[in-house]
Symmetry: C2
Subunit: 414 residues, 2 copies
């Protein structure tokens, strides 16, 4: 190629997001991303599943969607009907499920069905970053509802809905992660779910239920899904295999009525989601899912305990948190003097990756000194060493935690 | 659920496409869709590949993108650099490749980087339906360039570019399928490729090269890719494994400079494309791709010959076509009295699915009596029986082919 290279700049679509930076690898102590425990990927089971399903049905890969139609591989949808009934109380048929390329595509499709620029959406004040970013890019007005230890506060939701009604605005949906909330790890109790459904119905605003962390529970217990409890159908439910099996597999799903699915299908112009991943998951999950998730959750609980101990040792009272009910992340409050956006930058230079609070919240002030720590991927040694390194960075930059406090606490444990 | 179901209708985004119809299965004689030959899916090879790559690297599925970064599994990108060099003359590095969820996502990302409502794009007059539909949905002005047996006509392209220049319009790209064109099956000769690149450079309009059928060649020969021939870099290249291995696997790719890839990555918010399909493809293709594609093409050629014979027998001179240079489809001209949009409806009722010409063209008059027939998926028996059934429908509805003509021809073959 010559020096006079083609200049694309004048041709790019206006308003594109900033170009991606070149990927430089993962941090040494990686407390970000929904990654899972490498030792707990059921490799032997997936190998056996791949062998048996390919041997039996491999030739069907010659046809788009395995000739199972655009909603996805039928045995995977049938497995989901069983799993959703058992775990979430959802009575649905395979025809009510659309398999997607991860729950991110599910969110994109639901957004694509409902949201136009200038619309209003209600979310939890602290919320999955990917959902917040999507709403911002779509130019949607986002209303964040404050949380308590049981999830979205119904008094605040009721006020917000009343306020919108006064202004003549009908929100497009109420997005919630009710079962192992991201980032707080709370589970909304059944009574509050009923309240939420009542408000949804009264205001004609549907619920968008994101249940993608709901398989990872310390005690295996959860209330029924909002989708299951609704008597009027105004709930769209999405889920994923990323947290229960492996995130690099991109398989999620939408459970909804045909009025929603027929419109989601009309904008799902990808000729189907990856079939091999669907086939292997169906073959593996039908016999093994429940036992795998129980064992996986037990292992994750050990890592959470390690993380909470390490925070107590290294940060002392400077790190406050509610113990999550399941999942892969801990939402931590540091002293008000700490700005986690700055801490994030300094920590990254020291090899520690954290999620700064403001990226997981629509309330900048509330989240300024908070951070999300994902504990599934690092080993217990990496958790201990990484939190020690993070405390050192935080102390250098913000003067907390005090050295004496945590040395005393550590000594107390000997 | 009660009778008073939630009414979503007032909440849907305005301007959605028509809701999807419920899927009712494939036609008995299925001459549509980019499906492949079920007998030629390399099932044993894929099984072996799945076993070896999962055993060696299965635990990496615990990390999004296998910790290979957002551009995709490195061994797959490395295989592609070798294949693209050997087959298409493209010298590129793994860093110049972005793995996508099928070439449809690749097209969506390139469109997302360049196209805003009201923009202008140049395409071939007859063109892949998925590309035409995407441009229409994006509200882009489409200029179709007529074809001859060597692909896009350069005199017509030159006139169109001059005309745009006079009107002060700079098109965003020239989209072309130069190597086994869809639907005509032509291959653009090297000299014409050079002309195309000269016009592209002179007018500052980049080339969007869709090479997704280019692996299926009767004689294994093809000119270098436009991407390889360009001396100024103004080419974005996309490809796919759908036609060479299996369409139900959703793995495609973009080859482009970092100026393009960094912007495509910024709007690829799917947390990576499916990793298992990438892993299995890399493991299978590195040793087996070339031999597989040679054998596959040989089998497809037999099916094409069967289709051309069946058309000659059943339609006689009423079906005209140029023999394609490779691929999986034949572009057929029927007598002017035939409206293939009507034929499509009647044929479907008789169990025969065809692609009516107007769905694969931006010139309604030129394509009215043309149709695309895909021959990779049906068996040779289904090809013969399906074309006989199609001829019967066409005769009943349009009076052609005449019965005497084809009976005479058939008799002549005994």
């Amino acid at each position: 190629m010559t020096a006079a290279m083609f200049d694309y700049a004048p041709l790019f679509k206006p308003g594109l997001p900033a170009p991606a930076a070149k990927w430089t690898g993962l941090a040494k102590y990686n407390f970000v991303g929904g990654n899972n425990d490498a030792d707990q990927v059921p490799v032997e089971g997936l190998m056996a599943a791949a062998a048996s399903v390919l041997k039996r049905e491999g030739h069907t890969l010659a046809t788009y969607g395995l000739a199972n139609g655009p909603q996805g591989y039928v045995p995977l949808r049938e497995f989901l009907t069983t799993k959703l009934k058992r775990d979430a109380g959802i009575a649905c048929a395979a025809a009510d499920i659309l398999i997607t390329s991860g729950s991110l595509q599910a969110i994109d499709l639901v957004n694509g069905v409902f949201l136009a620029r200038g619309d209003t959406a209600i979310i939890e004040q602290e919320c999955y970053q990917g959902s917040i970013n999507r709403l911002n890019r779509l130019g949607v007005n986002v209303i964040g509802i404050p949380l308590d230890c049981d999830g979205m506060r119904m008094d605040a939701l009721s006020s917000a809905l009343d306020d919108l009604k006064r202004r003549g605005v009908r929100a497009k949906y109420i997005y919630t992660i009710p079962t192992v909330h991201n980032p707080t790890g709370s589970i909304m109790p059944q009574a509050r779910r009923a309240e939420l459904l009542k408000l949804s119905q009264a205001h004609g605003v549907p619920v968008f239920e994101d249940d993608c962390y709901a398989d990872l529970l310390w005690d295996g217990q959860r209330p029924p899904a909002l989708y299951a409890m609704s008597e009027h159908g105004g709930v769209v439910h999405v889920g994923s295999f990323s947290k229960s099996i492996a995130p690099a597999l991109r398989v999620g799903y939408i459970v909804a009525g045909w009025d929603i699915l027929s419109r989601a299908l009309a904008i799902k112009t990808d000729a189907g989601s990856g079939a091999l991943e669907q086939m292997v998951l169906a073959e593996y999950c039908a016999p093994h899912f429940a036992a795998h998730v129980t064992a996986l959750s037990r292992g994750l609980r050990v890592k959470l305990d390690t993380l909470m101990e390490a925070l107590a040792e290294q940060f002392g009272t400077a790190a406050e948190f509610e113990e999550p009910k399941g999942g892969i992340f801990l939402w931590v409050k540091l002293p008000d003097t700490v700005d986690t956006l700055k801490l994030y930058q300094s920590a990254l230079r020291a090899g520690v990756a954290i999620n700064p609070g403001p990226e997981w919240s629509v309330d900048a002030a509330h989240s300024k000194s908070r951070m999300r720590l994902c504990f599934a991927s690092p080993t217990v040694e990496e958790i201990r060493d990484g939190i020690a390194a993070l405390a050192e960075v935080c102390r250098t930059e913000f003067g907390v935690p005090l050295r004496s406090a945590n040395v005393m606490r550590a000594a107390g444990r000997l």
